[in-house]
């Protein structure tokens, strides 16, 4: 089972990803959380992939981490 497929089955994990997303504002997060249980497994996998890839640290954050 691939990571997105696994992520698609883990609704709780997806919820955490949505809640932690820095790109989304609170209103958008709320709507995603409401529809999350009703998404198809395919769309959940896409959502999981987008959020995981979107949470990759930016070059600035990477540089800051390196300087620590």
């Amino acid at each position: 089972m691939s990571a997105p497929e696994a992520g698609a089955q883990d609704v709780w994990g997806l919820e955490q990803l949505i809640r932690r997303s820095r790109a989304m504002d609170q209103a958008l997060k709320r709507q995603w959380l409401r529809v999350l249980p009703y998404l198809t497994p395919g769309d959940r996998a896409r959502l999981y992939q987008a959020l995981v890839e979107g949470q990759a640290p930016s070059p600035t954050e990477q540089a800051a981490a390196r300087s620590q």
């Binding site: 790109a23 989304m24 609170q26």
Partner: protein, 300 residues
């Protein structure tokens, strides 16, 4: 390390810890520009939201149907946030004319009476007015982008043998500043009408130019706020179309009621009648009329 540096470092460390723990709040709406990655993520989320809404809107659960619609709306709003608006200063940026306008004018040289209530100039610099042929009651409408002005005791249009037509206007005859897409055929402009302002080209000029020259309203915000505009930018030759639009940034500026002088395209300034106005000559011809004087002239 100073106390201030230590405090700053502690604050940075707290921020990093919060970020690692995932408790950093989302950026507020209208905050700093989102970076490229965030915008890309929001675009992907919009794509998913769009696909999800195609099947969720048929859900038997009304709450799900509503939620999917709200999700789509919120996703669209998030994607459009931070996009540059068309009018950064609240006024639409006007595209200049691609070619000069000249229509409805008399074909024969001569002088034609002009309806003083009908003279207007739009954001693109196109003048419109109604005139009548000698001995005829019927009003004809003309549109023209290259028009010279002359202060006179009458409101007439002069079509010379050569050169751009001349509008002879009385000092108190308004030229109505209007939007480019306004209805110019049926509307009669009046003070207080939204989106239009009367412009009096010669108001602050105690000694108007004795020969026809090109007049432009000053470039500043809120020109069509309804307040009368009483200052002008004068030039011997017609400015390029891009410098005749109202609302285009960086073209010409002039100030009414200020203490200093306005700034013209050429950078040459003059003060007319105690108020500011600019005299410019795009082809760098002669200029006279220094600051503080009550008269100014432009020589070609």
């Amino acid at each position: 390390m100073s106390r201030r540096e230590r405090r700053l470092r502690q604050r940075q460390e707290r921020g990093r810890t919060r970020a690692r723990a995932g408790v950093v709040p989302a950026r507020p709406a209208g905050g700093p520009a989102q970076d490229v990655e965030e915008r890309a993520l929001l675009a992907r989320l919009l794509d998913i939201a769009h696909d999800a809404s195609t099947y969720l809107r048929f859900s038997p659960n009304a709450a799900v149907r509503v939620s999917s619609a709200l999700l789509l709306a919120a996703s669209l709003a998030a994607c459009s946030e931070g996009e540059p608006s068309e009018a950064p200063s609240g006024e639409a940026v006007v595209q200049p004319l691609s070619q000069e306008v000249r229509s409805g004018l008399p074909t024969k040289p001569g002088k034609y009476p002009v309806d003083r209530e009908s003279v207007s100039r739009d954001d693109k610099g196109v003048y419109r007015f109604a005139y009548s042929e000698p001995g005829q009651q019927e009003k004809k409408r003309a549109s023209i982008s290259l028009l010279r002005f002359l202060s006179a005791n009458e409101d007439t249009l002069e079509v010379p043998e050569q050169g751009d037509p001349i509008l002879r206007l009385q000092k108190e005859t308004p030229v109505w500043l209007t939007a480019a897409d306004a209805d110019h055929t049926t509307v009669i402009y009046r003070t207080g009408m939204p989106g239009v302002s009367p412009w009096y080209p010669f108001f602050y000029i105690s000694n108007p130019f004795p020969r026809p020259v090109y007049y432009d309203p000053p470039q500043r915000a809120g020109l069509r706020s309804g307040e009368p505009v009483r200052d002008s930018v004068v030039s011997n030759t017609a400015k390029p179309a891009a410098q005749r639009t109202l609302g285009a940034p960086g073209a010409v500026s002039g100030r009414a009621g200020g203490t200093g002088s306005g700034t013209a395209v050429s950078g040459r300034t003059g003060t007319l009648g105690g108020k500011s106005a600019s005299v410019s000559s795009p082809k760098s011809s002669g200029f006279s009329g220094g600051s503080g004087g009550s008269s100014a002239g432009a020589s070609s």
